[in-house]
């Protein structure tokens, strides 16, 4: 057995870990793998070209950008902020659980860019969470305030990661489709995205429970 083609996998791992341009890493890994498997370099470039061409549907999803960009021009981001600001008044736990749900649902509907750290967490969610925590628990130490802000950022990530795959026209779902199709299994995007739902529910329950437990713990420390 010729084990040399595995070097391609090593190139991907090392190249990404060392922060080389990922496109260069991928092409390097593809060429190395093909050549080490005994293919002619020209044949590898042909194979890469054919595979890239066969997987064009993955990049079709960008045609949505004019719609999102146009809505942003008319204040979509500002509208999202108004919705988030409407969650004010609750405790820190309830606020972050509501934001988690908002982030998961909007991502699942294909609007993954209306949250995010620069747009929503820093200007809105983190300060609101901090204010809500102080309203319930009184003055917080610097460490506790950092933890509240970090939890706000964590909530944004969890909501995005475990909401976006429910939307079928997203790169990760189409990448899965492409990889399986190359191996001879034809799956549809909806077949795949439906399998993101159980994990999305678990993510909401687990992270939601952790947020509420964190809010209670803050209270017990300060009292």
């Amino acid at each position: 057995m010729n084990y040399w083609p595995l070097l391609g996998i090593a190139i991907v791992v090392v190249g990404f870990a060392l922060r080389f341009n990922p496109l260069l890493v991928v092409v390097g890994a593809a060429v190395a793998t093909g050549v080490l498997a005994g293919l002619d370099p020209l044949a590898v470039i042909e194979a890469l070209g054919k595979a890239f061409n066969d997987n064009r549907y993955i990049s079709v999803t960008w045609i949505i950008l004019p719609v999102i960009g146009l809505l942003e021009r008319y204040g979509l981001q500002q509208r999202a902020r108004a919705v988030i600001e409407g969650m004010r008044g609750a405790t820190m736990g309830k606020l972050l659980v509501a934001y988690l749900a908002f982030r998961q649902i909007t991502s699942a509907l294909g609007m993954k860019d209306i949250g995010g750290h620069p747009q929503a967490v820093r200007p809105l969610v983190a300060p609101m969470a901090e204010a809500a925590a102080m309203k319930t628990h009184g003055e917080l130490s610097g460490d506790e305030r950092d933890k509240v802000k970090a939890m706000a950022a964590a909530t944004d990530n969890v909501g995005l990661f475990f909401g976006e795959d429910i939307f079928f026209a997203i790169a990760s779902i189409l990448l899965i489709q492409g990889v399986f199709e190359s191996a001879g299994y034809r799956l549809t995007p909806l077949q795949l995205s439906i399998w993101a739902i159980p994990t999305a529910i678990c993510a909401f329950l687990i992270h939601g429970a952790r947020i509420l437990a964190f809010d209670r713990r803050l209270g017990s420390v300060s009292r």
Binding site: P5, V13, K50, D54, A153, F161
Partner: protein, 316 residues
């Protein structure tokens, strides 16, 4: 019959416009990159594999040499957006909702009513084609409602596209890498190695190794997308699907989500974990990761269970 070629024509037209606008803006690298991608969409089906391969190499060369830059097309200012947003209200969300609603409702109608027998769409391609239809409808509705300048959607789209840059084709490139792995027989090699290590017939252990590999490779590379073709070629497809006959959709989808659990735990995923710590001025650069580990580990266990139950116990 409506096929993916129609969708590729639409995407090709969009990238052509973006390339021309970049050219007008004297951003040569961007213009070249998007023109090559447009060419791939428009003529990819009619040229040889070698030409397609050279298109790929040219795009990678532009990206590798740092030829892609952000752009700042004319748009509305912060105050104006605030005012518009207050006037238009939550209706602003509606055009964005048209897209998933068209695609999902259309797919259901097409598959569960006699509509499907018309053969209007290429088999199993209807959802993404309907996504394209949804985008066109949403854009039309938004244009009629908001009456922006004619070039506004193209310019606003370019603003977003250039902020994504070369990363826009990374998933497609990784899928192509998966295909090269398959051609080179990487799956068989690792499948052989792994079945020597993992006790023969132990489906659960194999699921565990697959999910663990996704999370660990994602943590090392900082990117679940990059880990995916590797783990799919190594364990997901040769062992779980082929040898043990698991349900491909569940293994494929939830495997990726096991990788996302890894993303929550690694400083290598700087955009999600390190950048926000800086934005929020946390003393501990790993503060966000610390708040995520509990969720990530518990959720990873759930993903293992979901794959095992969904792909094996509830299948066949």
């Amino acid at each position: 019959m409506i096929t993916y070629e129609w969708l590729y024509g639409l995407a090709g037209a969009a990238f052509t416009i973006w390339s021309l606008l970049s050219l007008h803006d004297r951003r040569w690298g961007n213009a070249g990159f998007w023109a090559l991608l447009a060419a791939s969409f428009l003529i990819g089906s009619h040229v040889s594999d070698l030409v397609n391969g050279l298109l790929v190499l040219a795009m990678v060369a532009i990206a590798g040499l740092g030829g892609l830059k952000r752009s700042d097309p004319p748009t509305t200012g912060a105050e104006e957006r605030q005012r518009l947003s207050a006037r238009l209200g939550n209706r602003l969300f509606l055009p964005a909702l048209i897209v998933p609603l068209t695609a999902v409702a259309g797919t259901l109608l097409y598959n569960y009513t006699p509509l499907g027998q018309t053969g209007l769409f290429e088999a199993r391609r209807e959802t993404l084609i309907l996504f394209g239809v949804g985008v066109v409808v949403a854009l039309g509705v938004a244009m009629l409602w908001l009456r922006p300048p004619l070039l506004a959607p193209a310019q606003e789209g370019r603003r977003l596209l250039d902020s994504i840059g070369w990363a826009a084709i990374l998933p497609q490139m990784l899928a192509a890498l998966g295909a090269v792995f398959a051609l080179a027989g990487v799956g068989e090699i690792i499948g052989g190695l792994a079945s020597a290590v993992i006790p023969q017939g132990s489906v659960f252990l194999t699921v565990l190794v697959f999910a663990l590999g996704m999370a660990l490779f994602t943590m090392i590379m900082g990117n679940a997308f990059a880990a995916y073709p590797v783990m799919a070629a190594a364990i997901g497809i040769p062992l779980l699907v082929q040898q043990y006959g698991g349900r491909p959709a569940a293994i494929g989808a939830v495997g990726m989500l096991a990788g996302f659990c890894g993303t929550l735990m690694t400083p290598m995923a700087a955009n999600f974990n390190i950048v926000p710590a800086a934005l929020l001025e946390l003393k501990d650069q790993n503060g966000v990761i610390r708040q995520q580990i509990g969720t990530a580990l518990a959720l990873w266990v759930c993903n293992v269970a979901i794959i095992y139950v969904g792909a094996f116990l509830l299948w066949n």
